[in-house]
C-alpha cells in the first residue's frame, strides 16, 4: 500500500516538469513555431530559479526567476527565428547549446548549496486519507499549478477567440496575415509563453524535486517534453496522459534498477522516444484526413508589408 502511494507520488513529481514544459511548447507549436530550445530554456530556468530562491530564501521568488529567465531565453529565439526569419530548427538547437553553457556559468557558484524545498500542502483529515490523501491533498504548489495550467490552455485554445486566432496562425500564416492578424506578434507571445513554461519547469527541479542545483540537472527532460508534444498530437488532453505516462516510465526505470530487473536502464530511458515514434506511426495510419500537426509548423513567415 505505502509503496503504491510512494510510486504515485514519485510519478507525479517526475511528470510535473514534463507537463509544464510541454504545455508551453504545445502553445508555441500550435501558433506554428517549432522551438527546439526547450532543454536550454529549462536548464537556464533551473539555474536562475535556484539562484533566486537561494538569494531570497523564497521558493516563489525562485519560481519567478525561473519564469523570467525562460522568457528571456525565448525572446532570443523569437528575435532570431521570427524577427530575422532564421531557420527555426537551427535556432532552437543553438538555444539549447547556449542554455547549457549559460546555466553552468550562472549556477557555478551555487553547486553544493542547499535550500529548503517547496512545502507540501497539508489539510488535516483529508491529507491523512490512506492512499489518495497525500496524492490529492499533499502535493507541492507546482503540481496543482501544472494541472490548472493545462486546463487553462485547453480552455484558451478551444473556447476563446484569441485561441482560435493562435491556432489559425499555426494552420496557415498566409491566410491569417491576409485577414489582418499580426502573425509575428501572436507567435512571439506564444514563444514567450513557451519560454516562461520551460523556465518554470526547469526551476521546479531545484526548488521542489531535489533541493540543490547541479549542472545539467534537466538531463534531457526538455527533449522528452518536445517528444511529448508530438506524442499528444498537439492536443492538451492527450498531453496530460502522455506526461504522466512518460513520468511513470522514468520512475519505473529507477525502480527497475533497484529491483535488479534485467532490462538495461538505457532502454528504459529511450522508451519515451520509442513511444513517440510508435504513436506517430499509429496516428498517420489511422488518419482519415486533415493534418495532425499544425500545418504551418516550423515554416518561416515574412510579411510583405
Amino acid at each position: 500500500m505505502e509503496l503504491v502511494e510512494a510510486i504515485i507520488l514519485a510519478v507525479l513529481a517526475a511528470s510535473t516538469p514534463l507537463l509544464i514544459a510541454a504545455t508551453g511548447e504545445l502553445v508555441a507549436e500550435r501558433s506554428g513555431v517549432l522551438n527546439l530550445g526547450v532543454e536550454g530554456m529549462m536548464i537556464v530556468g533551473a539555474a536562475c530559479g535556484f539562484a533566486g530562491a537561494w538569494l531570497t530564501g523564497s521558493i516563489l521568488v525562485g519560481a519567478l526567476f525561473g519564469i523570467i529567465a525562460g522568457t528571456l531565453m525565448s525572446l532570443v529565439f523569437a528575435l532570431m527565428a521570427l524577427g530575422l526569419a532564421v531557420n527555426q530548427v537551427a535556432t532552437g538547437l543553438a538555444l539549447t547549446i547556449l542554455g547549457i553553457g549559460l546555466s553552468g556559468l550562472i549556477g557555478a557558484g551555487f553547486v553544493g548549496e542547499r535550500i529548503t524545498p517547496a512545502v507540501h500542502l497539508y489539510i488535516p483529515v483529508l491529507t491523512d486519507i490512506p492512499l489518495i490523501g497525500r496524492v490529492l491533498f499533499g502535493e507541492d504548489g507546482f503540481i496543482y499549478f501544472s494541472v490548472a495550467l493545462i486546463v487553462g490552455v485547453w480552455w484558451f485554445l478551444y473556447r476563446t477567440r484569441a485561441g482560435l486566432i493562435l491556432r489559425a496562425c499555426g494552420d496557415n500564416h498566409v491566410s491569417a496575415h491576409a485577414l489582418g492578424y499580426p502573425v509575428l506578434r501572436i507567435r512571439t507571445f506564444a514563444v514567450m509563453f513557451g519560454g516562461a513554461c520551460a523556465g518554470l519547469a526547469g526551476a521546479y527541479l531545484p526548488l521542489a524535486y531535489t533541493p540543490f542545483f547541479i549542472p545539467g540537472m534537466t538531463a534531457g527532460r526538455g527533449w522528452i517534453a518536445l517528444a511529448l508534444v508530438v506524442f499528444s498530437s498537439w492536443r492538451p488532453g492527450r498531453l496530460v496522459v502522455g506526461a504522466y505516462l512518460f513520468g511513470a516510465v522514468t520512475i519505473l526505470q529507477l525502480h527497475a534498477q533497484g529491483w535488479g530487473v534485467g532490462i538495461p536502464s538505457q532502454f528504459m530511458s529511450a522508451l519515451p522516444y520509442l513511444a513517440t515514434v510508435i504513436v506517430l506511426v499509429l496516428l498517420s495510419r489511422a488518419r482519415t484526413g486533415g493534418s495532425t500537426a499544425p500545418a504551418a509548423l516550423g515554416t518561416v513567415f515574412v510579411s510583405d508589408r
Binding site: 489559425a168 494552420d171 496557415n172 498566409v174
Partner: protein, 529 residues
Amino acid sequence: MQAHQRMLDPTPKGQNSGESPLLRTIGLTKRYGDLLANDSIDIDIWPREIHALLGENGAGKSTLVKAIYGLIQPSAGQIRWQGQRIVLSGPSEARSRGIGMVFQHFSLFDNLTVAENVALGLDGQESFKDMSARLEQVSRTYGLPLDPKREVWQLSVGERQRIEIVRALMQDPKFLILDEPTAVLTPQEADQLFIVLERLKAEGRAILYISHKLEEVKRLCDTATILRGGRKVETCNPRLDTAASLARMMVGGEVKEVKAVSGRKTTVPRLVVNDLSLAPSEAHGVRLDHISFELKGGEILGIAGVAGNGQDELFAALSGERLAKDPGTVVIEGIAAGHLSITQRRKLGAAFVPEERLGHGTAPRMKLSENALLTGHAASGMVRRGFIDTAATLKTVDRATETFDVRKAKRDPEAASLSGGNLQKFIVGREILRNPAVLVASQPTWGVDAGAAAVIRQALLDLATAGAAVLVTSQDLDELAEIADRIAVMFHGKLSAPLATSEATREKLGLLMGGSSLEPKEVAHAAGA
C-alpha cells in the same frame, strides 16, 4: 474614348446625380524597391456598379486591391472612401468601414471548421453561437449552402469559395472585391455566382471584379478599368468594346493569333491508356477510375475539368512518378510502359511538362543549363561516360532561348530568376527540342502572360503538326478549344469519352465538369466524328 466622357461626367449612368463615388483612389502609387507596382492610379467605384479590373499577370491588379483592402500601405497617393480621405491601418479597419474581399487563393484554414473560418474573418463582437446562427441565415438568404461544422479540407473548391463569399457578406459590405472568382469554377458554378453578384448589385453594393476572362467581364460588368505594367490604360464600358479591343489594351499590342495547320494527319497511336486505375497516394488524393484513351501522332487531346479531379494523379501515372501495377495500362510508342520509370519513359520518346514550374518543372535555385540536364540526361547526349557535357547543356539553353524567345538577364541564370512566362517557355522549349513522340503537358499556360501563352500554344500545335501526340490538361476551356482536336473531361478521377472540339460546347463541357453525363447518342455521335 469612353474614358474621357467618363472622366468629364462624374455620373456616367445618368442617374443618382447627387451621388459621389463610393471609393476613389487618386494617384495611388506603390513602389517595391525599383519596381513601380502601381504608378499613380486613379479609379472611381460607384454604388450599384460591377467594376472590372482587367490586366495581365504583373499588371498591378493585386497590388491595387491589397492597398484598397489595407493589406499594404501605398507609397504615395490617397484613397477616398465616401468622399473622405482614409488611411487604412489594416484589413480589419477596411472591413469595419464596409470593404470586403474574396481572395483568389482562398485565405482559409484547412484544419478549422467552416464556422471557425468565418469567425476569423469577422471582428468578433458577437458570440460564436450567434455568429453560427447568422452564418446559416446568410448562407440561406443568398443560396450559398454551407455546413458550419465541417472542416475545410473536406470541401470542394466551389464550397470553399462559398465560405469566402459568405464570410465577406456577413459584414454587410458596401463594397466587395473579388479576385478572379471564376478561375476555379465550372461554367455552371460561375453562372450561379453571377446571380449572387447581380443580386448584391441590386442591393446597392459596389463590386470590384478582377478577371482576365473578357467574355465574362463583357457580360457582367458595367465598367472596366484596364491596367498594364502598373499603370491605368483606360476606363471604359466593356459592353461597348469588343473582346479583341479589350485584349489589345491589356497586352499593349496585337495578341499573336495562334495558327493551326488545317488537315493535320493523324498517324499511329503513340500514347494509349488502357483501363488505368490507381489508388490515391495521399490522404486527400483522387482515385483514378478506369481511365482509357488513345492518342495518335499528329493529334492534340485536351483534358478539361475543375482542378483536383484527378488531373495531377493522371499526370503522375503518365510521367512515371507513380507506377501502375499492370504495365499494359500505359502504352508509349507501342511498348507497355506502366511499370517503367520516368527516365525509361523518356527514352521511349515521351516528354513531360508538369503544372508547377518552380519545384516540379525546374529546381528553382539551379541554373537553366542544369535544369536542362535534369530532364535531358537520359536521351539527349548531355552526359558522356558519366560526366556532364557542359557545352551541350548550354547549347540546349541557347537553342530554347532562341526558338522560344525566352527573355533573361544573362546566358545561364537561375531558374527562379525568370518570370513565369519566360520560365514556362524555357521548360516547354526544353522538352520540345528533344523531339518527343509524346508530350504530356499539365496547365502549360497557367499564370503566363498572353504573349508567352500564344508562343507556347503555337509550339504545341507545331509539335503535333510534326507528328507527335500531345496531351494537354487545362482549366482554360478557350485554350483547349483553340488547340485541341478532341476534349475529354475529368471528374472525380473518371475521364469522359472525348468530344470532337467542334462538338464540345461550353454547356456540354460544363455538364461533364459538374459530373453529369451527356445523352448517350451525343457521345456516340462525337466519338464517331
